[in-house]
């Protein structure tokens, strides 16, 4: 029943995202106040931004583990309420000392390699500046060729769907937001030929406050869970951390530190008693830098 509801939810989002060119009000700019959480703004028609995302995931409680994810994103406002993005992705790994619980013998030291492409569409239905709250829908088909945790070669297709809500207070100085993300993924591993499919479910929420002109301080939290073969939940983890955002006329950056604060199942003999260090890491850092043109 749960999965049927999720699939219905995704279908609804997809239909709305593709067929809602009619409603309501425009927004302003898709400047990211948070590293993981999305606000509801879209770029104005004809304007563009280019972003560089750099994410470091590190700490498996044993050995050495560093996973770097890099994305170059080009985003363009097709209308004042509808934007499209194109992503080039890169990934690198440093794995040693039995860091992977499922494959303790695995050792990998690979420099940045091309990891695939994503396209994304975002549609703003309600303006956070004029309506009771902001509401946007998001759809992101993706192709990846390197596994995020193990670094294995593969072909993976995903379809991320997202519902975004935002409410601002005090003349838009304080922004609160929430995202619900559902993403089915289908993968085939190159070496083994093994196929797998899974569903990712994520709740993300946060606050950001403009503390002085150009500077915003915030907090964001994320709950991520995965359902292999679209069945029972295999693991889930909570992350919570601070972020800082600086925005100027032609560029902005956002930096987030997001440690895992609780996860299940716990893997024995790895420390971090309340953490899940199998599919996730102890710490995540993300930096986004964007140029507006």
């Amino acid at each position: 029943m749960f999965y049927r509801s999720l699939i219905l939810f995704m279908a609804l989002l997809t239909v709305l995202a593709l067929s809602a060119p009619l409603l309501l009000t425009p927004a302003r700019a898709d400047e990211n106040l948070w590293g993981y959480l999305y606000g509801t703004d879209t770029l104005p028609k004809g304007s563009s931004e280019i972003y560089n995302w750099l994410t470091l995931r590190t700490g498996k409680g044993k050995g050495t583990y560093r996973g770097w994810d890099e994305m170059l994103e080009l985003e363009h406002g097709l209308t004042d309420r509808f934007q499209a993005s194109f992503y080039l992705k890169g990934r690198s790994h440093r794995i040693a000392g039995g860091a992977l619980d499922d494959d303790p013998g695995r050792s990998l030291n690979r420099s940045l390699e091309f990891n695939g492409v994503n396209v994304a569409f975002k549609y703003n239905l309600l303006s956070v500046y004029k309506d009771l709250f902001g509401l946007s829908l998001y759809l992101e088909p993706s192709y990846s060729r390197i596994h995020g945790v193990t670094g294995e070669r593969m072909s993976q297709f995903g379809l991320e769907t997202k519902l975004m809500l935002q409410k601002n207070f005090f003349d838009d100085q304080l922004a609160l937001a929430y995202n619900l993300t559902v993403e089915p993924e289908w993968a085939k591993f190159k070496a083994s030929g093994e196929r797998e499919k899974e569903l990712e479910l994520e709740h993300t929420a946060g606050a950001s406050y403009r503390v002085m002109p150009n500077w915003f301080l915030g907090l964001e939290g994320r709950y991520h869970s995965e359902y292999p073969e679209f069945k029972a939940r295999e693991h889930g983890a909570y992350f919570l951390g601070p972020n800082v955002h600086y925005g100027a006329e032609k560029w902005w950056f956002t930096f987030t530190f997001l440690p895992q604060i609780w996860g299940r199942p716990h893997i024995a003999n790895r420390g971090g008693g309340n953490l899940h260090l199998g599919e996730h890491e102890r710490y995540e850092f993300r930096l986004k830098i964007a140029y507006v043109f």
Partner: protein, 177 residues
């Protein structure tokens, strides 16, 4: 392995100073009241009661209690007032000036400085012209009697709220002085 060195990205750290002052206070004053021969500055400090009254009348929040106001005079006769105010943009403040004539109607609105990535369309004469002739009796609400500009909603909203607040300020603290 130094991912930044092998970055897929092009350099994006380009900080430029495109923000601009479009008009000085003096230029704005003269455009509002070309017949005036002097502008006398008044430092206006509101009482708590006045602040509450303005907030109630304008349905906005008062961030400041001090305002810069000029009386436009021609041959020592009062022609109206000019108020210089700032409202929140996305990153910085949007500074604007507005003029109110003796009948309590808006005589003009000018954007003095604007430094945001988007939304600079609020400088357009056509958009600012919507306010001229409006008074405290008007709604001054975006998408009602004030047209929004697609892609500039935050700026339109904040400038509209600021103008509504200043009309209330005029009636509460300036009209009878």
């Amino acid at each position: 392995m130094k991912p930044l060195y092998y970055s897929l990205s092009v350099p994006v750290l380009v900080a430029t100073a495109h923000g601009a002052q479009f008009l000085t206070v003096d230029q704005a004053q003269r455009s509002f009241f070309p017949g005036a021969d002097s502008f006398v500055e008044k430092q206006l400090e509101l009482s708590a009661a006045q602040t509450t009254q303005i907030e109630t009348r304008s349905r906005t929040r008062m961030r400041l209690k001090r305002f810069r106001v000029w009386e436009a005079l021609a041959h020592e006769q009062r022609m109206g007032v000019v108020i210089v105010d700032e409202v929140y943009g996305k990153h910085e403040f949007i500074t604007y000036a507005m003029a109110i004539d003796l009948s309590g109607k808006i005589a003009g609105v000018e954007i003095l400085t604007y430094r945001e990535s988007y939304g600079g369309e609020v400088r357009r004469a056509q958009w600012r012209g919507q306010f001229v002739g409006k008074s405290a009796g008007d709604q001054l609400e975006l998408d009602r009697d004030i047209r929004n500009i697609s892609g500039a909603t935050l700026s339109c909203q904040h400038v509209t709220e600021g103008i509504r607040r200043n009309l209330a300020l005029y009636h509460v603290a300036l009209a009878n002085n």
